[in-house]
């Protein structure tokens, strides 16, 4: 699943702009992820601060 490190996130919304599933939303200072996320990983690559990560379910 997609995880957002809120302590790293600069809440710029770049990830929201590239999400092909419109699964992300920038609300104040955090990013919300909804069930439409397809785990494509596009947002993780473009995050300027590296706050987004795809992790295997078992690791959580």
């Amino acid at each position: 699943m997609l995880t957002v490190n809120r302590y790293k996130c600069g809440y710029c919304g770049a990830c929201v702009g590239v999400c092909p599933a419109a699964a992300l939303e920038l609300v104040d200072t955090w990013i919300e992820v909804n069930d439409d996320c397809t785990k494509c990983g596009r947002c993780t690559k473009i995050c300027p601060l590296g706050a987004l990560e795809l992790v295997k379910e078992a690791e959580i």
């Binding site: 600069g10 770049a14 702009g17 300027p48 601060l49 590296g50």
Partner: protein, 391 residues
Amino acid sequence: MKCDLVVVGAGPAGSMTAKVAAEAGLDVVMLEKRQEIGDPVRCAEGVSKAALKKLVELDPVWISAEVKGARIRAPDGTEIVISEDRAGAEVGYVLERKVFDRALALDAAEAGAKVMVKTRALGLLWEKGVPSGISAQFVGESLKIEAPLIIGADGVESKVGRWAGIDTALKPKDIETCAQFLVQDEKIDEEYCEFYLGNEIAPGGYVWSFPKGQSIANLGIGVLGSKANSGMPIRLLREFVKKNFPEGKVLEMMVGGVPISGPIETTTADGVILVGDAARQSDPITGGGIINAMRAGVMAGEIAADQVPKGEVGKGELMIYEKRWRETIGKQISRNFAVKEFFVDLTDDDLNRLTHSLDGVNVAELDLKGLLKVLLRQNPKLLLKLRHLIV
């Protein structure tokens, strides 16, 4: 709540739309999801002096600094200097966006628009298959605002278009992922905006220094999304600062994404118009978006004022907006997109060669288009693919 026009987002695009529409007599509500208009900043704050003057009365309180021109530095350190008001839309003033954005929102409010902060749009309201307003959250309370026309001025993370069925998702190659520090250093050049090119410095992008006075500058980086990996912009920016401004004092950190997709297929739907970054109207070469956003805002505001009273706000009836922006700002956006597509794949050797080819040419006399013309003349083989765009 009922009104004639809802504007989602109070950046330069939204505020200009709201102001123009309100001045023309529409009952306008403008929503801003943040608590503070203009903050946090996601911008290098550079803007063309001449272009800005045409759009708004200048106020020194939101101008941080005035610059003489731009200096472009090739990967091997070779420099070219371009003089003020001819370097494209980004040289002239460096703004204080926190003050500027608030001033534009105040202009809209004084023209009669109702501005609501900490008010987030959650989705469209629908009636008989067409949008009839916005459902929102106002300081945590739900709020419905009915309006025949909705303006999506909601920036890089725009949702309004998507709700209306317009796919505005940016591909990695169509976004620059950016980081910026506000830096104080005696070494800052206070007279010129600087651009540093190179595939190691900033893959598919550039590093910039935009001075704000008192030895302070916006020192930032843009990396092409398709060449980036997680956290690359901040990592490369830190390296750049360490190498070039080791004594630099960092006073602020900013991050953001800049659309460089060129014109998207559609920016209108039944009852919906997109403006500014939401419509991907930022310049694909420079990344500058303020002027295009404001110009599109004026067009959208005028068109809203014409169409809403007539009740003609269907997609077909809003074609007038598509036509107007594509024939004006859209032309340069299209051309610069094609030039960008070519430039992002050049090697450092190519970039050095292009810069050397300008040796002895008085580039201070040229604008961005003129510069490309000279480059084409000096490097016909390398730039063969750009020929049709410039001549």
